[in-house]
Amino acid sequence: MVAYVLRRIGSTILVMVLVSLLVFLLLRLAPGDPAAVLAGDNASAEQIATLRRLLGLDDPLPVQFLSWLWAVAQGNLGASLYSAEPVTLLMSQRAEATLSLALATLTVAVPLAIVMGVTAAHRAGTGTDRVLMLFAVAGFSLPAFVVGYLLVYLLAIQAGVLPVQGYQPIAEGIGGWAAHLVLPAITLGLIYTALIARITRATMLETLSEDFIRTARAKGLPMRRVLLVHALRNAGVPIVTVIGIGVALLIGGVVVTETVFNIPGVGRLVVDAIARRDYPVIQGVILVCSGIYVLLNLLTDLSYTLIDPRIRY
């Protein structure tokens, strides 16, 4: 187990170096010059050239990459070309909003999706099953911005029960914080709920046809216990895998949702940075996100051992 974790962390570092190399190259190959953006519309070619030299953009690419990597290894993600503020500071300022949104989405979506999936599998073929799966298909098909604006129109503008947009830090009161998160979390959680519910239904259906479920029923156990104790845990590995993959989707979804609801989170930070070709910010955010993702993957794999006693690393 320890050996496995160490091997995995070793490969994680390798993956992250590769990811940062790809991002680094992609940004440099894409058209657009940060110096030109920074210098403004009226700058002369000479001014832009000076700026490029000051920013270190004249160095050969390998030198730029290695010096950035060296700084990263020391915990320094660099500073924004635009505001000169450190990338770590920019990210930590925005982290609360993004984490709040992600966690709110997960705490609602995961339990709801599992209950939906288990119910649909137990009642497979009935009206209940069809209604639940119709909802799941709808959740897949509707883009976040459509649902988002629709919810804003109905619940915020027409009914006036929830704020239209923006974010309120938790320090300014739990009520306001929660009220601001309801609509974005529903918007973001919809596709996520649909995905987990469908996988839960499919794996539960498979598990329910297993011999040991027949054994459990022949023992005279209550259906609730058969479903939640005997079947759900056996269906757990694929469900947890999808939840893990879903977190990656969440990272992408956060960007759109934050834009729709005008939430000052990491998603907005990276959208703004891309518009300005703010290389260090983009690189920093992607590196941290991929780090989180790889780490979550490791945690997902390790969680298998908690679910299934046959899995040992």
Partner: protein
């Protein structure tokens, strides 16, 4: 007479695919009684409705797609009319069940202790501590060694036999009046089967419960049951005391079933294999058995010398090799033209790996394999593929070994075309001839596998193996998954083909009674090694190695007089052939006890 424990009258069960399809009846108007302390065996082949009968009584069939009519009374109270909540209280307490597949019938995620304890918590209202103590007592009762330490073990750490013991402990937990045992020993090795049958018999004497025993195996029936009920395609064809059924079965189907049962010892005094005598199921017409010729006195077509196959086990930070499973260890034998050599032994003894290693489907670590004198072990790539023409394989599971989306004609023709032996048209013509040869019609070429029964599919697999005109066929448990009457027919087909085509068979099987019928010679494998090899009559009549003797003694004999006997064998499971990295296999000595009969000392 006192009231029976279970009284079934006019039980009729039907299924439908969905709410819009018509009902099709799979059990018709079935009636029987079981008294306390009595064992009733329901015998029949796949599709006879024997398992459906037990699931109907337990009401475990899906409500939306099944319909149960008639009556099933447990000590006078009607089960079929009980509301689901009350029925649930009957399941696992008054009536409990054990199933065929011990490997899949336990929940892999829960400890065996908690799976037994939950029955008592649910039905007897015991506290967690009481249930645990009681579960450990039950484990001791079903003779699980170190019961106390095993409480927190997960099922995957137990062998099949031990898992079935856990299932039995679970079934007995709430002291049932009726135990339904649905093929409880079919999936087990023969020595383990004997132990489990003895255990069920002992526990029945102790508790006085009634047992409904469902099986296809007449040998098992004779060992366990007081009365026997024979089912055919949903109907009861005959019922009576087991002794009566065996001695004076009236219905042709009963007699067909009995005649098809391979009986250990029926070949005594005969030198060569013989086909099964068969009785037609409907007319009762008999086809007598027929003796086969001896193997040709020619140089061997297959020579295997010092074959070793090991599977490495890795561990640690750098995934170094820590040891190996010695699946096949220093195995040597030869096979002559027209000869059947059987490899027998229990699960995990390495018999299948030996077969696969010879075809190089698994890479042997060392050893010489010569087919017609040509070295198979030294070949690679194209040459290896060509060499494989001479050896073909027929596998155990006829359902899994045919691609469900490929027509049988294409499946049979494929090896011929892939090997570049002729055109599509030639391949199809040959496939058609082979289908006729294995007892099917050339007209079925365009059908898909699911349109055939298990026995027919196995015939198709045999036709596919014959497509390349092989000299040797490795039959890896090829008849094990088939019903008794079908098993006899497929064995007869294999023997007919041997006679007409001069084929040699490496017949891999755990079924001693079938082996006795079909083999010229027998090799007994134990923990990856051949412990005894020799002519079939010598092995069966004068077994020398302790393991061979044990294997033969464990086979159930279809003779109701043995009902009261017990084997009194030690409870032990096959040991693991895992060895540490620096393990040196001991040098084995052989002793010749008769002509061509060798025993490991």
């Amino acid at each position: 007479m006192t009231e029976p424990v279970l009284s079934v009258r006019g039980l009729t069960t039907s299924f439908r695919a969905d709410a819009f399809s018509p009902w099709s009846t799979v059990v018709r108007d079935l009636s029987f009684d079981i008294g306390a302390g009595e064992t009733l065996a329901i015998v029949g082949e796949s599709g006879s409705g024997k398992s459906v009968t037990s699931l109907s009584v337990m009401r475990l069939l899906a409500e939306r797609t099944s319909r149960i009519e008639g009556s099933a009374k447990l000590e006078g109270s009607e089960l079929l009319a009980l509301p689901e909540a009350k029925m649930r209280k009957v399941r696992g307490s008054a009536i409990s069940m054990i199933f065929q597949e011990p490997m899949t019938s336990l929940n892999p995620m829960m400890t065996i202790g908690s799976q037994v304890a939950e029955v008592m918590r649910c039905h007897l209202g015991l506290s967690a501590a009481e249930a645990k103590a009681e579960a450990i007592r039950l484990f001791e009762k079903v003779r699980i060694p170190n019961a106390k330490d095993r409480y927190d073990t997960h099922p995957h750490k137990l062998s099949g036999g031990q898992r079935q013991r856990v299932m039995i402990a679970m079934a007995l937990a709430a002291r049932p009046k009726l135990l339904i045992a649905d093929e409880p020993t079919t999936a087990l090795d023969v020595t383990i089967q004997g132990q489990i049958l003895d255990l069920i018999k002992d526990l029945q004497v102790e508790t006085g419960m009634a047992v409904l025993f469902i099986t296809h195996d007449m040998g098992v029936v004779a060992e366990v049951s007081d009365r026997t009920l024979v089912m055919l395609r949903g109907d009861k064809v005959e019922e009576g005391s087991t002794a009566d059924i065996f001695a004076r079965g009236k219905h042709p189907y009963t007699r067909a079933l009995l005649s098809a049962v391979p009986r250990l010892g029926s070949m005594a005094g005969r030198l060569n294999p013989a086909t099964f005598g068969l009785i037609d199921m409907t007319t009762g017409e008999a086809t007598p058995e027929r003796a086969l010729p001896a193997a040709a006195d020619a140089p061997p077509v297959l020579e295997v010398k010092n074959l070793c196959t090991r599977f490495e086990v890795r561990g640690g930070l750098f995934a170094r090799v820590t040891g190996a499973v010695h699946a096949v260890e220093d195995v040597s034998f030869d096979l002559r033209p027209g000869e059947t050599l059987s490899l027998v032994g229990e699960s995990g003894c390495g018999k299948s790996t030996t077969g696969r290693s010879i075809l190089r489907l698994t890479h042997p670590r060392a050893g010489d394999i010569r087919v017609d004198g040509a070295a198979m072990h030294a070949l690679d790539g194209k040459a290896l593929r060509e060499a494989r023409r001479a050896i073909q394989m027929v596998f155990q599971d006829p359902f899994a070994s045919l691609n469900p989306r490929v027509s049988v004609g294409t499946a049979i023709a494929e090896p011929f075309i892939e090997q570049g032996l002729g055109t599509q048209a030639e391949a199809r013509e040959k496939a058609g001839q082979l289908l006729e040869r294995v007892g099917l019609s050339a007209k079925v070429m365009n059908r898909l596998p699911h349109e055939f029964s298990g026995g027919q599919r196995q015939r198709i697999c045999i036709a596919r193996a014959l497509m390349l005109d092989p000299k040797i066929i490795v039959a890896d448990e090829s008849v094990s998954a088939l019903d008794v009457s079908i098993k006899a027919q497929v064995c007869n087909l294999l023997m007919d083909l041997q006679e007409s085509l001069g084929l040699s068979y490496l017949f891999i099987s755990h079924d001693m009674a079938v082996v006795e019928r079909v083999s010229h010679r027998v090799a007994v494998m134990y923990m990856g090694e051949i412990v005894e090899i020799g002519p079939r009559p010598a092995i069966f009549e004068r077994p020398q190695h302790a393991y061979t003797q044990k294997l033969i003694a464990a086979v159930p004999v279809p003779d109701p007089a043995r009902r009261v006997l017990r084997r009194k064998q030690d409870i032990e499971e096959i040991k693991s052939p895992f060895r540490p990295k620096d393990f040196q296999p001991p040098k084995r000595e052989w002793r010749e006890v008769g002509a061509g009969h060798f025993v490991q000392t």
